[in-house]
């Protein structure tokens, strides 16, 4: 069994009449030489850490959970969607708050799951918890979602990159968004084609996104980009479940993302030497932080 592309995976699922999550579990069991029970119990602990991070972020009334730059945004958004009619609907508002909250937990040295990286750790929990609440999903269904997400993430890591230093934010938040969208489509009973269509659209919407962290820290603009990554995942899942297809197939989109990443100057790849990091305000924040 060699699965090196979305095409391989789609073929395999059809030929063997196996679901995407079952294939992912079998594949990981073989690769890691762990039992399926071990992997499932690992994913249960992943879910717990994700749910705890979301809860800590949005319930941080005293604003203990903040980084050097960010904090308090998730709770502010929560206050708004709980008390007023939202602009973008409660689902998107919640997902954004959960993503911001998880990133605030990360910035405050709290416990998170790098999925696929710490800089993009807010997207997957935000989308999973939002979907769980909206559709009353069980732990078993969420684990199936994580397995589907893993398939997408491992293809990107294998054929392109998931590192901001190599491919910019499109490689980090882009991959997280594609993974989260895959999870939702799979949990909603979408086909394996629909899973990869959703993931392909996620990348296309974030293609070219640079990595320009202020002061070099995993905080700003990272947290809000996690919020857009979560909203993007939900939107692309919605489109794909409506049978809207990605014009460019997933594998080609991933290749394009990689080529775009490689042609980005290094100043826009996690070095804090370009983009927002070198704006007047960005430089001022960095100067104030490091002169302390």
């Amino acid at each position: 069994m060699k699965l090196t592309s979305a095409l391989d995976i789609i073929d395999y699922c059809h030929k063997s009449s196996v679901s995407l999550d079952a294939l992912a579990l079998a594949y990981e069991t073989k690769k890691t030489e762990k039992t399926p029970e071990y992997i499932e119990s690992y994913l249960k602990s992943v879910l717990k850490v994700m749910e705890n991070a979301v809860a800590s972020g949005i319930n941080d009334v005293d604003n203990h959970i903040h980084g050097k730059i960010i904090g308090n945004d998730s709770i502010q958004l929560k206050k708004r969607y709980e008390s007023q009619k939202t602009v973008c609907g409660e689902t998107i508002a919640k997902a954004a708050a959960y993503a911001l909250g998880t990133m605030e937990v990360n910035a405050s040295m709290g416990k998170v799951v790098a999925s696929p990286t710490a800089g993009s750790c807010g997207v997957l929990p935000a989308v999973l918890v939002t979907a769980k609440e909206r559709f009353d999903l069980t732990e078993a269904q969420l684990i199936k979602g994580l397995l589907a997400a893993n398939m997408v993430g491992s293809i990107v890591a294998r054929n392109a990159t998931i590192s901001g230093a190599e491919g910019g934010c499109q490689a980090e938040v882009g991959t997280a968004s594609a993974m989260a969208s895959a999870a939702v489509v799979h949990m909603m009973g979408g086909s394996v084609e629909q899973v990869f269509n959703a993931s392909a659209m996620c990348f296309k919407n974030l293609l070219g996104l640079v990595c320009d962290p202020i002061a070099g820290l995993v905080e700003s603009p990272c947290a809000k980009r996690n919020a857009i990554g979560a909203a993007n995942a939900l939107l692309c899942a919605e489109m794909s479940l409506a049978e809207i297809k990605s014009i460019i197939p997933f594998d080609e989109v991933v290749d394009a993302m990689y080529r775009v990443g490689k042609s980005m100057p290094s100043s826009l790849r996690e070095t804090a030497l370009g983009g927002l990091a070198t704006t007047k305000t960005g430089i001022q924040i960095a100067t104030d932080l490091f002169s302390k």
């Binding site: 992912a24 990981e28 690769k31 890691t32 762990k34 992997i39 690992y42 994913l43 602990s45 992943v46 850490v49 980084g67 050097k68 937990v105 990360n106 910035a107 405050s108 040295m109 709290g110 416990k111 998170v112 799951v113 790098a114 999925s115 696929p116 990286t117 710490a118 800089g119 750790c121 997957l124 994580l146 397995l147 997400a149 893993n150 993430g153 491992s154 890591a157 294998r158 998931i162 590192s163 230093a165 993974m179 002061a215 070099g216 820290l217 995993v218 905080e219 932080l289 490091f290």
Partner: protein, 224 residues
Amino acid sequence: MKDYNIFDIIGPIMIGPSSSHTAGACRIGYAAQKIIKSPIVEVRFVLYGSFSKTYKGHGTDVALLGGILGFKPDDERLVDAFKIAENRTLKYEFISSDDDSEHPNTVLIHAKTNLLETWEITGISIGGGKMIIKSINGIDVHFTGEFNTLVTHHKDSSGMLAKISTILSQNRINIAFMKLYREEKGQKAIGIIEADERIPKNVVDELTQIDGMISVNVIQKIYE
């Protein structure tokens, strides 16, 4: 081909904020104390490249020290590493170096143990929480912590390797990777043997009995 599994893609579970600057740094410290084995009483970290510039904002200092204290990247005690080190009367110091380094996230760890041995260990954090120990006491090595690993200190002499591998094969331990380093011919050598199976104490005892063996340390797998 890059090989990733589910523990890399949906993981690691870690204390934030950065997999390379926090989790990877912690694993370097963790691996170092496993290699050193005797209790450390003094440690100095020299930080290079991006580690040197952003270590405070990323908690690289806390993570390195926490690793030295024996905490893994998901251990919530990491945040309190400074206080815990002080309680354990472990002296620590961080130095930013402007010198060039081969890799942007490099740290050189100088440690002194309760037996007054001194150690110098260089590690690099390569992203996603992964790390490589590049040198131990001036000897170039390549240790990733992804396998159960034997670190042997022995006299450089003929047949040493055969004796080690015989004992391992008799105990059904399969060698995944093996590297030998020596300072000089006939002098002290270091063997790093990465194995698929756990390496039990009786095997370590048996290896310690080999003529010319100075010490045998086991570092069980640090991460999946």
